[in-house]
Amino acid sequence: MFDTILSGQIIQYLFTGLTIGAIYALTALGFNIIHNVTGIINFAQGDFVVWGGLLMVMFARFFGFPLPVAFFSVVGVMVFIGAFIYYFNIRPIKKPSILTMIMVTIAVSIILQGVAMFIWGKEPYALPSFIEGPPVYVYGAYIMRQSFWVLGISVAMVLFLTFFFNRTLIGKAMRACADDPGAAGLVGISTPLMICAAFMLGSALGAVGGAVITPITLMEYDRGAMIAIKGFGSAILGGLGSFSGAVIAGFMLGILESFATGFVSSAYKDAISLVLILGVLFTKPEGLFGSGANKKA
């Protein structure tokens, strides 16, 4: 009897962890895409998630768009915002160094947060599940229907990105810029264009995460920093630049937090995951799965 209750609980935590972990994974992928092409850490990545969620609320609840229309509108707007950020913030930098570009992304993060507060105010917003209905009963656990959406869309995004970077010419060109921007120029690839594409893809990816998670977690203007820290942590744990590492580490971090909340206290969940991230940074900075395979040779 006790066993089944416990196993039901474990499945419950596992699913909660996978759901929140999916968002960390998507955020980590966003970090990796922009890092791989530019070498920078985009501190606005968490704000893309916030904007995705809040725009989804605006389109679906206030404008009354049907959900699929709202979803693709959010992606479209964020692709545009990504290009806008590149064009007006990254491109004008006279002497682009890694450090100046990182400073600029911090500024962009602050601006996005400020504009979000101006538009939506400080209160958290709720969004109905993509498909209404009671939680689904799985082996003694009740799983919210939205969780399946989060997991399904995350898996779809990972498959899409794998295809994009391995099979399409523009995806390959972006990877070439990551390997050697000078050599990319020699074959005719425009590095600025690829950086712009990375920002468009990164912001769209963040927004997808925000749009699918908001029905579960709500969303408010200043959530970006914590999401960015967890997503960045996942990217580091997985080995910065590694897509598969980012996904695995994101899910691990989500599950760890969920179990920490369940068995210890929700008050400690952030502390526990940050201790893990710092621990890895100190002892194995190439990431848990880092073999150096993703490093530049």
Partner: protein
Amino acid sequence: MLAIRNLEVTFGGVRAIRGISLDVAKGQLVSIIGANGAGKSTLMNTVAGLVQPGGGDIMINQDPIGGLPARKVVKKGISLVPEGRRLFVNMSVADNLILGAYTRHGKQKTEAIAETLEMVYELFPRLSERAYQIAGTLSGGEQQMLSIGRALMAKPDLLMLDEPSMGLAPLVIKEIFKTIITLNRAGRTILLVEQNARAALAISDYAYVLETGRIVREGSGEKLLCDPGVVEDFLGGH
């Protein structure tokens, strides 16, 4: 085909190229030799658009290209095989070659690009055996072949090679030189930079000797091979 007039390049006040003029005619194999630090790579990189000139003109088929970024120079028909190969080391051999034809995608039929790929694989059968190997794991010689193959994928009018023999074993160097001759016999215009002066001069129609950013001697390959000054400085003279 390529005409350079009074080219100047400075790095933070230091003049690396001091008024160089040279010509490469269609179908020729022209080489540039010179000691370490003479400015050979700087010259090649400036033509390719990786380095911005401080003055003078660079023309390809009467079309000025001085100051254009590399991605636009390659569209004018000039491909550089850079010093140190500079492959996309985390990508496969096939992807490196596909990206070599980046400027042709969307403009030309895929069959035309596939044809060039076939030609490159025929030239370097080793690459076709290793099409899906990651470029960074190739041997030095194979990497050099891939770098040349990648440049050829753009179907350049002018192929520029910066020290293709660097760091390779004598047997591999022989192979690379043979390839260069084959390409030139097939009508390809080539500008070659080499430390390996004797081998380079022996296959060149014309050659220039570079010293601290200036051309100090020029002439046909045979003439320079017998030039006492060149023999003294570069050919371990007797």
